[in-house]
């Protein structure tokens, strides 16, 4: 069955928190509803569940990849043209360490960026029910559910005192 999203807008934090309570009472589960704000509020302001993520793994994986690639490039380059200078070893560890360090950091940063975008569930192609008022300070509560339950969601949102009409959109 097609899913549909509805959005209620609120001007006060308390009203948005009430809307979430109403949705829970009406039987909606975490994941079916979301808070949309134009600014980061302290976690739990609206009584929403704490989002979980695994971002901290990404830089570690990236650093390992970057280190390996830098090691292969530096050692490979030196071994491919083994010119002995001053009787020193072919593999120059201090010089390699610099490039391996930069490679590790670059890998860590690129993977972190990819991780941030992935964990933020971006890019998102369909916006669903959305209002430009959200970036003007309104707080949105959006419910994405089966088409048959949108009426229940709208009632729960209205009960908390929405600012204006409920906005409807497709998932």
């Amino acid at each position: 069955m097609a899913k549909r999203s509805v959005l209620g807008l609120y001007t006060e934090e308390d009203s948005a928190a009430d809307a979430l309570d109403n949705l829970r009472e009406a039987g909606f589960e975490e994941g079916e509803y979301e808070i949309l704000t134009g600014v980061p509020y302290p976690e739990g302001t609206f009584g929403e569940a704490e989002p979980e993520h695994k971002l901290y793994r990404w830089p570690l994986i990236g650093a390992a990849c970057g280190f390996t690639i830098a090691l292969l490039i530096t050692a490979g380059t030196e071994l491919a043209y083994p010119l002995i200078t001053g009787g020193k070893p072919i593999l120059s560890i201090p010089a390699m360490a610099i490039i391996m360090y930069e490679g590790s950091m670059l890998g860590a940063i690129i993977f972190t960026i990819i991780g941030i975008i992935f964990e933020s569930r971006l890019p998102r192609i369909f916006m669903g029910a959305y209002s430009e008022k959200i970036t003007e300070g309104h707080i949105g509560v959006t419910v994405t559910t089966d088409e048959t339950r949108t009426d229940v969601a709208e009632t729960a949102l209205n009960k908390a005192g929405t600012d204006g009409e409920i906005i409807r959109g497709w998932k």
């Binding site: 930069e102 670059l106 972190t112 941030i116």
Partner: protein, 469 residues
């Protein structure tokens, strides 16, 4: 200490997007003038490519001229952005909010400007590939990774990619605001693509906050490594007195912070004047950055002093002769005096006064002085080091920058200004969501008989408090 003005989100959008959604009267003439300067510089560069490096003032023994001094200068400026942004984010300093974006963007343009000059310096920039990339399989010629000229691109490249991505990720919420505010459908569509569908869910905000902190923590070690590696371009060279110094890495880093933070203060003053952002960048912000500058400048001066002590303490005649050339002989002596006066003697005592610290005009001019001094510092490291008289009398010579070199150096300054103006026309220079967060997290509380703004800081997750209390 922070002055408190509570503004609505709508007001913040209007104020901070004014420069993006409208065209200020001065913008077009400024962009036209800067573009002309950039084109002139590029013209000089192509002239140099056509005629060869003979059109520059470079000649034996001075094979590194103002191109390289300028490279070190812009690398230094680039350090401010990430340094200011990362350290203030990590320490949760409230006054960071209006400053971070401009500083980060300046980092990106400064790094591009920094990369200009060594590329031009080689005369045939496309041959730089020979140094860096192991690609020439047929002839078996490989880059020498023991050379600092391979370390440099790896460090600067890492820093440029990292800071550009950092700017982009932190821009996502503001691009979403622009998507919602843009009037023309095509512009709206472009911003919508760039925003990647950002809607402001708790998950997205949480990741934004963590991104700021995590990326700051990752970029800071890169920032330290970049100027260390740039300093090793000089320091690992055994044959040049004045360059072969163990203190160069920290000395370059602190010098970079000195010039970079000064550049951020300049940028703050310009933002106030050009975009009328005095509601967001207040005397408090200038005061805070001036206090930071006093510490940075004094530390830098200490390192500068140590560098001289280490040089003179050896009592080696070539080293002492070089120092004499740097400080007392024409034309370097007067430049040395200007360098000391402008980078430390005038500004630092002035910053001790609250009236100076809180004045945008005085902060602008004192920080301009610092950057004049810091450019000269790099000049005085690079040029006299090579001009010094060696045992080989046929190798004695001096250096005068040619008009081609001067035009190219001027071009880098115009390029950074132009880049900042174009950026500010497309994207906001002050992070809107960060300012709004500051407003949301700030509540008026009563302490005794005074009502003062208090800031809520994100610390432990809410369930911690629920369990404890």
């Amino acid at each position: 200490m922070q002055e408190h003005t509570q503004l609505s989100h709508k007001q913040i959008n209007e104020d901070l997007l004014k420069g993006v959604l409208t065209v200020p009267k001065w913008w077009l003439p400024a962009v036209a003038f800067l573009s002309l300067v950039v084109l002139t510089g590029l013209g000089a560069f192509f002239y140099m490519v056509y005629h060869g490096l003979g059109v520059t003032g470079l000649n034996r023994p001075v094979m590194w001229g103002i191109f390289i001094a300028n490279f070190v200068f812009w690398i230094g400026i680039s350090h401010a952005g990430i340094m200011i942004s990362a350290i203030l984010r990590l320490t949760q300093a409230e006054w960071r909010r209006p400053i971070t974006r401009a500083a980060e963007v300046m980092t990106v343009f400064s790094l591009i400007a920094a990369l200009h000059t060594p590329l031009m310096h080689v005369g045939r920039p496309w041959r730089v590939l020979y140094w860096i990339f192991p690609y020439d399989f047929s002839r078996g010629i490989w880059p020498n990774i023991r050379s600092p000229f391979v370390w440099d691109p790896s460090a600067v490249g890492t820093y440029l990619i990292a800071s550009s991505l950092f700017v982009f990720v932190c821009l996502l919420p503001d691009i979403a605001i622009l998507r919602d505010r843009a009037k023309k459908p095509i512009v709206k569509k472009i911003y919508a693509q760039m925003a990647l569908g950002f809607r402001g869910t708790p998950r997205q905000w949480k990741l934004q906050i963590i991104a700021g902190i995590l990326l700051s923590a990752l970029v800071l070690p890169v920032f330290v490594s970049v100027h260390s590696i740039v300093s090793w371009d000089f320091a690992v060279l055994i044959g040049v007195e004045g360059w072969h110094s163990t203190i160069f890495a920290p000395y370059f880093i602190i010098g970079a912070i000195h010039s970079g933070v000064s550049a951020v203060a300049m940028l703050m003053a310009l933002s106030v004047w050009l975009y009328g952002l005095d509601k967001y960048i207040k005397p408090d912000h200038f005061d805070a950055i001036a206090r930071l500058l006093i510490i940075v400048a004094t530390t830098w001066f200490f390192f500068f002093f140590l560098e001289w002590v280490y040089a003179l303490y050896t009592l080696e005649s070539p080293e002492i002769a070089l120092r004499e050339l740097q400080a007392f002989q024409w034309p370097y002596g007067p430049l040395f005096a200007i360098f000391i006066i402008t980078s430390f003697v005038i500004p630092v005592p002035m910053w001790l006064f609250k009236r100076v610290r809180r004045s945008a005009v005085l902060m602008f001019w004192t920080t301009i002085l610092v950057n004049i001094g810091m450019w000269l510092e790099r000049f005085l490291i690079v040029i006299p080091g090579l001009v010094r008289r060696t045992h080989m009398t046929f190798d004695w010579g001096t250096y005068h920058p040619s008009i081609v070199e001067i035009l190219v150096v001027v071009e880098t300054f115009a390029f950074v200004c132009l880049g900042m103006l174009l950026f500010a026309k497309v994207l906001p220079l002050i992070p809107l969501f960060d300012i709004k967060e500051g407003m949301v997290n700030r509540r008026l509380i009563k302490v005794g008989r005074r009502v003062i703004p208090a800031t809520i800081r994100e610390g432990l997750p809410h369930h911690y408090y629920e369990k404890k209390h």
